[in-house]
Structure formats: structure tokens, C-alpha cells
């Protein structure tokens, strides 16, 4: 579904992503692990179109999207979440969800003035869907709260919820578990699994919570220094000495 080919991202001489090549299969939840600075989030930024790569190609459903703008990728069903929640802090939780669907009738000035009926109908449908999402996430009690006032975990749920407001096909989740307490974490896992099974979302998941990776992800890709180190099922990746080394660092000299 997604093919990344020889992708390079350079910032002032430093290669955050270095000739990275990987694929994500439709219907799978692909886990992306690796130490800090491995280039995982940069890779997400590249796939989602927030930044343009120095070189290399990204293909999505057979189409080259390397130079497509972020909003166009979104409309093709390629949706991402952020590691640090990027909620619209002055909008209510409900509005945060309702703003998501693309091509709403009410986003056109003229429709607002001359086709209010259509806009209102559209809006009812969007609101229904938003409430559904809130129920699914068990967030209905904070629907009218400003999103900025939510707890860290609730914001993470909201991030996930936004991906449900569109006809997403490939969802990039950047550390959904970070800063989320245990109970909420299990809920989050459950929701991701449901979305994968019932709605057929394909996920790529950056995560440091290995339990979550183990439960959800197949295959698991480990990145280090901007490129793919190893790919396989969780146990294979986990027990590979290179992975441990990437996390703990190579041995310098014979001090260890």
C-alpha cells in the first residue's frame, strides 16, 4: 500500500532519514520502533507531506506522492496523528472532530450563503458522525470542553478520533501511548485493533511501549540512524542483537 524508496532527508548536513526503504501492506498494523533520533518521526513527516524529502520516492497505492501537498494526501485517505497532541485548543472537542471531514459543503463560502439547506444537512451528518466517534472513544462527557483543557491521554484519544472522521485508509500513529496511563492505554489498543479489523484501516505505528507493539503489530520494523535495521515479527526483531545494540549503543572500545 505504501512504498518508501531510498528516502533521504537532510537538515544542514545532518541526515535524519538516510536512504530509507520500507513498505507497509494493506490491512496490517506495521510497527515502527527504534531509538530516539532514528528518524521515525521525520519519516512520518515525509510520508504525511509536512516536509519534502531531499531525495527518494514515496508511493501510495501505486501513485507517486513524493511531492504532493499534505492536504491532498489527506484527501487520499493518508492520515497522521502527532506525537505531541496537536489539538485545536480553542475549539471544543466536538468541533475538533467536526472540522475534519474534507469537502464539507459548509467550507464553501457560497454554499453557506445560498445553499444553507445543504450545509445544514451536511452538518447534521457530520455532527452525528462526531458523536459516534465520541461514543466510541468514550469521550461524550467532554464534548463541549475546549480541547486545550483535556488531559494528555484524552488528547491522544482525540488525535485517534480525528482519523475516524474521514475515510482514512492508511493511518500514521506517532507514539499514541506516550503520556497515556495504563487503563487508557489498553483502551487505545483495543480501539486501534477494532479500527483495523472492522474498518479496514492500515496502520503504521511508532511506539516505544513494547507491550503495545507486541499485541498489535505485525510486522515490526526497527529503524536506526535514519534507515531500516531489520524487519520481521515482534519476537524476531526483539531478540535480534542488532536491535538491542541500536537501543543501548554499540560497545565503544573494550570498556564494557
Amino acid at each position: 500500500m505504501l512504498e518508501v524508496e531510498n528516502l533521504v532527508m537532510e537538515y544542514g548536513g545532518f541526515r535524519a532519514v538516510d536512504r530509507c526503504t520500507l513498505t507497509a501492506e494493506e490491512g496490517h498494523i506495521t510497527g515502527l520502533i527504534g531509538p530516539n533520533g532514528a528518524g521515525k518521526t521525520t519519516l512520518f513527516n515525509l510520508i504525511a507531506g509536512a516536509i519534502e524529502p531531499t531525495s527518494g520516492r514515496i508511493r501510495y497505492m501505486g501513485e507517486d506522492i513524493t511531492h504532493l501537498s499534505a492536504d491532498k494526501r489527506f484527501h487520499k485517505g493518508l492520515v497522521r496523528t502527532f506525537q505531541i497532541p496537536h489539538e485545536f485548543h480553542r475549539l471544543t472537542v466536538l468541533e475538533n472532530l467536526m472540522m475534519v471531514p474534507g469537502h464539507q459543503a459548509g467550507e464553501s463560502l457560497f454554499a453557506n450563503w445560498f445553499a444553507w439547506g445543504k450545509v445544514a444537512g451536511d452538518e447534521r451528518e457530520t455532527e452525528r458522525r462526531a458523536w459516534e466517534t465520541l461514543e466510541f472513544l468514550e469521550l461524550t462527557h467532554v464534548a463541549d470542553e475546549r480541547a486545550g483543557n483535556l488531559s494528555g491521554g484524552q488528547k491522544k484519544l482525540l488525535e485517534l478520533g480525528r482519523t475516524m472522521m474521514t475515510d482514512a485508509r492508511l493511518v500514521l500513529l506517532d507514539e499514541p501511548a506516550a503520556g497515556v496511563n495504563r487503563t487508557l492505554l489498553r483502551k487505545l489498543e483495543e480501539k486501534i485493533a477494532i479500527l483495523n479489523k472492522e474498518r479496514g484501516y492500515t496502520f503504521i505505528l511508532i511506539e516505544h511501549d513494547m507491550e503495545m507493539i507486541e499485541k498489535l503489530c505485525h510486522p515490526v520494523i526497527c529503524m536506526a540512524e535514519g534507515t531500516v535495521l531489520i524487519e520481521g515479527d515482534f519476537q524476531t526483531v526483539r531478540s535480534d542483537p542488532r536491535v538491542l545494540e541500536a537501543y543501548l549503543g554499540e560497545t565503544v572500545g573494550d570498556a564494557a
Partner: protein, 235 residues
């Protein structure tokens, strides 16, 4: 030995949420201490708490017995703590020498000795003292950043991931420089991603997870601890 830098049960964060949920650590004179831990453990945050870049809601931080909890960074500098951030840690449009001058900004009088000391520690920089810092390689930039901090002759130097993004060759060089700095009489506290190397060359280490202390001990002890290795790969 009584600790030089002492951090006790510190809690705090940027917004309302506490990222640090009670972190305690200390650094004795002439020591290199490493803070390691999985991503999101609060390592850099702990360091920023020491340097007053964070809202500290509980606990106490002292240097040489003097309370510096919640002080402004410039006062903490005067108390003898210097900090090298992970990114944006040099003045790119100024020469290497000017970067060092900025390091000594708060000092008056003749700085020849301070320059000699820093250039002695970093001979590479001496050759390039007229080069714009922005034109240097990653490892050299890190040296500029450390040199700038050392100009104030601190008692403790805080380094936030000094080897991030560096090649193994440079990494080793930076570690060597850290030892030289220590031998020169400055204690070091560093946050490191490359846990194994860091613990191997540090005198002591702390392993943090989820904003709290998890393990501590000498570098060798921690390296040998199977539990510590496990932590990095699983919850």
C-alpha cells in the same frame, strides 16, 4: 564525598502535567554521571529542571549546598552550572572564537587563561577559530557548544545528548573530551541516548523511566544488570 549538585524528589513539567514524578540524583566533584533511559523517560526534562527551564512544583535542587530551585538561568550560571542544549546550541553566524566570547559574556577582565584552557581541550577549534560556527561539522559544533559553556569555568557541566546524530568516530571523541574536561576539574552530568557507551565511560549512572528513578549505580553495575537492558525494549 558530599555531592556538588543534588536534586531531590523533583516534580514538575511544562504545562499542568508533571513529566517528572520525583527524580533524585546527585553529582560529586570530579564525577561523570550519565542519565539514561528509554524514550520519554524524562531525561532531558530532568536536566532542564536543574537549569530552571521548567516549572518545578516539588523537590529541591542545590549546588554546593546553595538552593537553586526555580532560579532564573542567568543566576544558575553564576552559581556554577552551565548547560549545553541538544539543539541550537551554537551561534551559527558567529565565528568559533566569538562563540567562546559569548560564553564568557558574564565574566570581566582578562580571559586569556579561559581561552587557553578551552583551546587546549579542543585543539580542532583553535585551528578554526575564525570559521563561522554554522559551517562546522556536527562534532565540531558540539565542541563549540561545550567550549562556550566551559568559558564560564563551571563546577558542573550539563550536556543534553552531546552525541546525538554524530558518527561513532566523533562520538568517541566527544566522550574522550568529556573525560578530559572531568580531569580538568569539572563534574559532568549528561543525558545520553547511547546508553551502553555512556554507562561504559561514566563513573555513575541513573536509569530513569516514566519520569522517575528506576536504577542507579556505577556504570559497570548498570551495564551488567539484565533488568536494565530489558527496560529499553519492553515496558
Amino acid at each position: 564525598m558530599s555531592p556538588l549538585l543534588d536534586m531531590r524528589e523533583v516534580r514538575g513539567g511544562y504545562g499542568d502535567a508533571d513529566i517528572l514524578q520525583g527524580v533524585s540524583l546527585n553529582v560529586a566533584p570530579g564525577e561523570i554521571v550519565a542519565i539514561v533511559g528509554p524514550n520519554g523517560a524524562g531525561k532531558s526534562t530532568a536536566m532542564k529542571a536543574i537549569f530552571g527551564l521548567l516549572h518545578v512544583r516539588g523537590g529541591k535542587i542545590t549546588i554546593d549546598g546553595k538552593d537553586i530551585t526555580g532560579l532564573k538561568p542567568n543566576l544558575i550560571v553564576q552559581a556554577g552550572v552551565c548547560y549545553v542544549p541538544q539543539v541550537d546550541n551554537i551561534f551559527r553566524e558567529m565565528t568559533v572564537h566569538e562563540n567562546l566570547e559569548m560564553g564568557a559574556f558574564l565574566r570581566s577582565g582578562d580571559q586569556t587563561r579561559a581561552y587557553d584552557r578551552v583551546y587546549g581541550l579542543f585543539p580542532d577549534l583553535k585551528e578554526r577559530r575564525k570559521t563561522l560556527a554554522g559551517n562546522l561539522s556536527g562534532g565540531q559544533r558540539q565542541m563549540v557548544a561545550m567550549g562556550r559553556a566551559l568559558m564560564l569555568d563551571p563546577k558542573v557541566l550539563l550536556l543534553d545528548e552531546p552525541t546525538a546524530g554524530l558518527s561513532p568516530r566523533y562520538m568517541e571523541q566527544i566522550f574522550q573530551i568529556c573525560r578530559d574536561v572531568r580531569d580538568d576539574g569539572v563534574a559532568l552530568l549528561l543525558v545520553e541516548q547511547h546508553a551502553k557507551q555512556a554507562l561504559a565511560f561514566s563513573d555513575r549512572g541513573y536509569v530513569l523511566a516514566s519520569g522517575a528513578n528506576r536504577h542507579e549505580g556505577t556504570g559497570a553495575e548498570l551495564l551488567a544488570d539484565r533488568e536494565v537492558a530489558e527496560m529499553f525494549l519492553g515496558g
